[in-house]
Structure formats: C-alpha cells, structure tokens
Amino acid sequence: MSDRNGGVSRRRLFGLAGAGAAVAGLGATAGVLATARDPQVRATAVDTSAPVPFRGPHQAGIVTPAQDRMHFVAFDVTTRKREELVALLKDWTLAAERMTAGEEATQGGAVGGAPQAPPADTGEALDLPASALTLTIGFGPSLFDDRFGLADKRPEALVELPRFRGDDLDARRTGGDICVQACANDPQVAVHAIRNLARIGFGKVAVRWSQLGFGRTSSTSTTQATPRNLFGFKDGTNNLKAEDPTALAEHVWVTEGPQWIVGGSYLVARRIRMHIEIWDRTSLTEQEAIVGRAKGTGAPLGQTAEFDQVDLHVRGPGGVPRIAEDAHIRLASAESLKGARILRRGYNFTDGSDGFGHLDAGLFFICFNRDTRTQFVPMQQALSANDKMMEYLEHNGSGHFACPPGLSQGGYWGEGLLG
C-alpha cells in the first residue's frame, strides 16, 4: 500500500508494532543500550523489525548484529559504459536506502504507479516491516580490469583467492564484479531487496549467482546468543563483536590502500557444502574431537562453559591434547594463526537435494577482514590442509569483494571509486 493511497506505509506499520515490542523487550534490552553506542548495532538489538540506519561511517551489515536471514548475490557488470554503471549505482543507492527504511524501492512503486505500467516495486514486501534489512555492497577483483579504467584503483589486498586444498569450486557459484549482501530478520524482505536491485540493474548488470541463508551461524554482538550450525554445534563463539571497537579496528576496518576503501572491509564468501548425512553417523565423541568443543554447552574441551578461554595447552591421559592437533578450533584460533582473526557472518543453507538422496546443505561462510591476505587466506590454508572437519566439507563456491566504507548524506555506492 502506498502513502498516496492513504494506506498504512511499511514504515508506519513497523512503528506501531515496534512500540509494543519495545515495551515487551525493555527489561532484556536495558543493558544493551548501555554497551551498544553504534546506532547500526543498537537498532536490531532493541527490535528485530526496526530499521537499521543505512548511512554511517561504515556500511551496515558488517557489525550490525547478525540478522536471522540472508540473500547474497553476485553480479556481472554487462554494460561497458562507465556512466551507465555510475547511474546504476546511484539508482541502487536510492532504492537501497528506501528499502532498508521499510519502504518500497520507489515512492508508491508497488501499486501507486500508472495502471498500464508494470509496478516499479515488485510488491512482496508490502505490509512487512523493515526487519533490520541491511544491504552491503562490495566490488570484486574482476571489476578492476580494463572495462572501466579502474585498474589503478584496485587495492593490493583485493587478490584473487589462491586455490585451497580440496577446493571444488563451481564457476557458476564463484566470482562476480559486484556483490550485495542482504540480511534481514524476515527472509521475504531480504529476497525482495535483492530482486528489486537485480531488476533495476537489467541491461547493466546480470545476476551471476546468488545464495539464500536461512539461519545465522554467527553472533556479531554480545547481545546475541551463539547460534548453531548444521553440524549442531555452536558456531563463532569467539567471533569479533561489535562491542569491541579496538579489535574491529585491528581486524576488520581497512586502513591501507586507495582512499576509497579506507574504512571499508574485505568480504570473503565461501559456499561450504556439508556432508551432513555422513556427519550424523559420527559418534558424539568424535564430533566433539573434530570441533574441539562440547556439543551441548559449547565449552572448549577441557573447560566447562561456552565462553571459557580456549586453552590449547591442556592435555589429558597419556599427555594427549584435550583439543586435538587437527581440531577445528585449534587450527582456527588466533593463537595458532599469529593473532589473525576475522569477523564471521555466515548462514546455514539448504538448497534442495543433490540427486543422490542427500540434502544440499551447508554453511554459506561470509567473513569480513582488514586484509584477506594475512587473515582469511592463512586461516583457510591451515584449515584446508589439516582440519579433520574437512572430511565432511566441500567448498564449492567462492567470492572476494572490497566493501567500501559507509555513506555520508547524499553519497552513493561506489562514489569514492567511480565518482
């Protein structure tokens, strides 16, 4: 329903709902407000249907408390004209800002236009609140070829990812000139956003691949409980959190390279198929040994509670390490990786079945880091070479994107790069 027709706008609807939710959630959120000063963080901690500010020093959707749903898309740029690309990025910015506020992609877009014309907004998110929608854009290495004269603006850190041991990448799920990560607490809101951006882009960009995620596998805020991945384990207990700006400055926000990327972050996406059927036949003891944590509590082996510090130096009977040499949390720990950490923001997925009677399920891994060359890459090299969990995993999609910093008033996506 459009404002013009006198209906309830998405924004107003959410306002009403939000009031009730805010009262109900008051007790739980009182402590949150004190710790989360960033409005992009605070918004969803308070109310899962409220909007997250689109503009700010950093793009939303990175340290924003991880929403429950995701739709990720990678585009190929099909136009060869730089000005068309710039115009598209401006159009996208307008639509993105509106949609993250809980509005249609254009004013009155769904039903307020000319009856003879196809509606400018596809309409499936009418009546739905903003649902903490964030839209995060990134630029892939391939955009910096000779098409748009961007070669000298390519950050050195925006490398083509090396081949990791066991990689089985499908070209139809890999790469892309531009990515947009849509996260929301309502899957329809996330899909609506990607669908409308793709539609606006016809003739200038084409969808190369996309991925839905139905449940978050990481917490990016101390206000959130640690969710479980499809192996049934709490995932990302030791993730970087929004409430730790010092660690974010050290591990997430870019400080070097061309000016347009400073204050941004590098996004790595990996589609990780999990052989869940095989995993499910594995004993609890072995599952826990592979992960390095107790399945129930999430406590590191040798400790008692989830957030107890991981101690790699505790040994059990016969001097055997409690956290095995090839356990996932040992190999992925900052201690084993010379201090390297990443901000994880992955999602569980199931994409139907594989034709062999198995679910095509897994984890769509997304991480943000300050320099992929010194953070994600060494981590994945260690994991792909030695992680016992790899026996149950298959990386079959991949992408690397440079996400610029956030937008100030009046700015548009990619302005620093193309403006």
Binding site: R165, G302, H358, N386
Partner: protein, 383 residues
C-alpha cells in the same frame, strides 16, 4: 582416500583410545560435572614450590586451578602410577591462572608436579584419590577374537596388495599401458579393502593415494592416481617409472606396518563406518578414479572391507543387539545385489556408464547401510 588427510586418522585413533579408556560410551566431553565435590583445588606454582589447597580428592572429575606465582613459565601435571600422565596443562606464564580438569576414575596414589621452566621432573607431591574403582574388567573373549579375526583379514589382504602393486608397477615401467590399465583397479582393490588401517600411517597414505584435487600447494602428485592420470590421460611420462618404484616402496612400508598394527574393537567398528563414508563421499560421486572411472571396483572393495570388520565383530553384535546384526546382514546384501548388477567381465562397469538412477540407487543403499553400521561402535563399547 578421504578428503583431508594426514594426521586426521592418527588423532582419530587417539580419540578412540580416550573413549575406550574412560569407559561408558557417550559421556565424552559434554558429560560429567566439572566442579565436583569441594570445588576446584587451587595450585600455587612458584619457582621453588608447588602448593595445593588439598592433597586429596574423590574419584571422578577433579579440577585444578593453577596460578603461576613464580617468574618462569611453568606446567602442572597429575601423574598416575608409573608416571602415567592423567592430565597436564602447559605454558602457564607468570601471573596467569589456567584450569586443568581431569577424569580420575580410580582411587589410589597419584602425584602432582609443577615444572617451572617446563623442564626436569618438577616439584612433586603425593596426591590421594579416594573412592572405589567401578570399572569392570574389560576382558571380553569375543571382542578379543574379533580383533584377532580382523587382523587375519588384514594380513590376507596385504600380500596380494604387495604382489599386484608390484605387477602394476612393472607394467608401467615396461610401457605396457593396456596391461597396467587392467592391473590398476585390481591392485587398488586390496588397498581399498584395508584403507582405514592404511590411513593411520601419517603421510604414507597421501603419497600412495592422494587425488590431484586434494594436493596441498607444492605437494608432489604421486602414487596410484598420478599413474592413473599418466595411463588414461597424458600418456606415460619420463618419471612414470620413478613414481611406480616409489609406489612399490611405499606400499611395502604400509604392509610392514599394517601387519604390526593392533586394533581395538572400537577402531574396527569405526573403520567399518569410515569405509562406507569413503564410498558415500568419493566413489558414488565418481571422484576417486576421475581418469579411469573404475570407481565401482573401489566401491566394491570398500564395502568388502567394511563387511570384514563387521563380520569380525558380528558375534558380539549378535549377542548384544540381534536386530542390529540382522539389519546389517540385510543392508550389506542389498548393496551387494546392486553391485552384482553392474558386473562387466572380470570387473565392473565404468562409473561414466551408470545412469543417474543407478547412481542414486547406490547412494540410497549405502545410506541405508551406513545407519546400522554407525551403531556398531556403541554396541561394541557397551560394558
């Protein structure tokens, strides 16, 4: 081979050993109450002293909180009789407190030790654990028979493995491509039957059986699959003979080790499951023999190896869980029947000649078998 690789199998053995050692199944790491009666015992570790708030605890889970009040990096150990390590925590830097949670099932005399500088015997003191040992004697004659029976099976496989690998290598070196191609799946059959055993020997398995896609950057492509590529795709190369010689050497080494290995019943049960996992992730997808497409030979061998391990354990399973024993028989027979349908001459159809429906039928039958097989370890671990 399994996707990743080297130390995985070894750690798996260690994990199994741990499971076997701490008795009843399923408790693993998530069970147990960490702060047992009396709460944690504080340990004050100095450069010249190792003070405990208590030198006695009840059998069960004992928690030590070790604070380094000295100037050197230290360690803390709990020893059983004969300096058997019950648990230890290393690398405790000055000013730091670390926690050690130890499972001590049996009462008796133990020793604690702080080791400033992380060398020497440490500063020792007696530590008494009270309470009865509740563990039952583990001497189950049938389980002992099972491991011996499987050992005989392994011994029966390694000799033809050695012989056929030798013939295969000789054919490669003589440039007899057709003969080598015919011997390739035959030699691999013996290998695939005992693969979980072979995998427990560190880097030998990747040298013999690594798939090209699973190589680490910089790792040389050697073994069966390298020669497979030479024979089916690129043609024999200058160093094919050298690769064949190395394969023979590596296989001989595996054979020596496999004859000496001592397996526990739990390892047998898990080995049977791992062989099925191999089929499900590698053979059903046609990834194992990606150049020769002789995956069904390997498939058959994995299933036979799995069946041999289960057969060794079968008397125990039949006694403790007759329904499971029956289910295993039925599901093995179902997989067997499907494989028999794909026979061609001395061997099997190529993977690439299977229809999608046939592949799907295999996948379903393997899943149906995998479920009961995954329950064998639990039954074997029962006391």
């Amino acid at each position: 081979m399994t996707r990743p690789k080297l130390p995985a199998a070894l750690a798996g053995l260690a994990a199994l050993a741990t499971l076997a050692a701490c008795g009843d199944s399923g408790s693993g790491a998530s069970g147990g109450t960490p702060a047992a009666a009396g709460g944690p015992i504080a340990v004050e570790a100095k450069d010249d002293a190792c003070g405990l708030t208590k030198a006695e605890a009840a059998a069960g889970t004992i928690t030590f909180e070790v604070s380094n009040k000295g100037s050197r990096v230290t360690e803390f150990y709990l020893y059983g009789e004969g300096d058997r390590i019950m648990g230890e925590v290393e690398n405790i830097t000055p000013g730091i407190t670390r926690r050690l949670i130890v499972e001590v099932p049996d009462g008796g005399k133990y020793q604690t030790s702080c080791r400033p500088g992380m060398t020497g015997d440490g500063i020792r003191a007696d530590f008494t654990v009270t309470g009865a040992a509740t563990r039952q004697a583990d001497a189950n004659v049938k389980l002992g028979e099972a491991t011996k029976g499987y050992q005989r099976y392994v011994n029966a496989q390694v000799e033809p493995l050695q012989a056929k690998t030798g013939e295969f290598a000789a054919a490669v070196k003589a440039g007899k491509v057709d003969e080598a191609k015919a011997l390739f799946p035959v030699a691999r059959t013996y290998w695939e039957r005992i693969e979980p055993v072979a995998e427990s020997f560190g880097d030998l398995d990747p040298r013999i059986d690594a798939r090209e896609a699973d190589l680490e950057p910089g790792q040389e492509f050697t073994g069966f699959h390298r020669l497979e590529k030479d024979l089916w795709v690129s043609g024999l190369r200058a160093d094919s003979g050298k690769i064949a010689d190395q394969l023979v050497t590596d296989v001989n080494e595996i054979v020596t080790k496999a004859k000496a290995v001592e397996l526990t019943p739990l390892q047998l049960a898990n080995g049977a499951k791992e062989l099925l996992d191999e089929v499900a992730t590698g053979k059903i997808t046609g990834e194992e023999d990606t150049f020769s497409h002789t995956d069904l030979w390997d498939f058959r061998a994995n299933v036979e190896g799995s069946q041999a391990a289960v057969a060794a354990l079968r008397p125990v399973v039949a006694e403790r869980d007759p329904a499971l024993a029956k289910a295993l028989d039925e599901k093995f027979a179902a997989v067997d029947a499907l494989l028999e349908k794909q026979r061609s001459g001395e061997g099997y159809k190529l993977y690439t000649d299977l229809t999608p429906d046939e592949v799907k039928a295999f996948a379903e039958a393997v899943d149906a078998l995998g479920e009961p097989i995954s329950k064998v370890a639990e039954v074997v671990a029962q006391k």
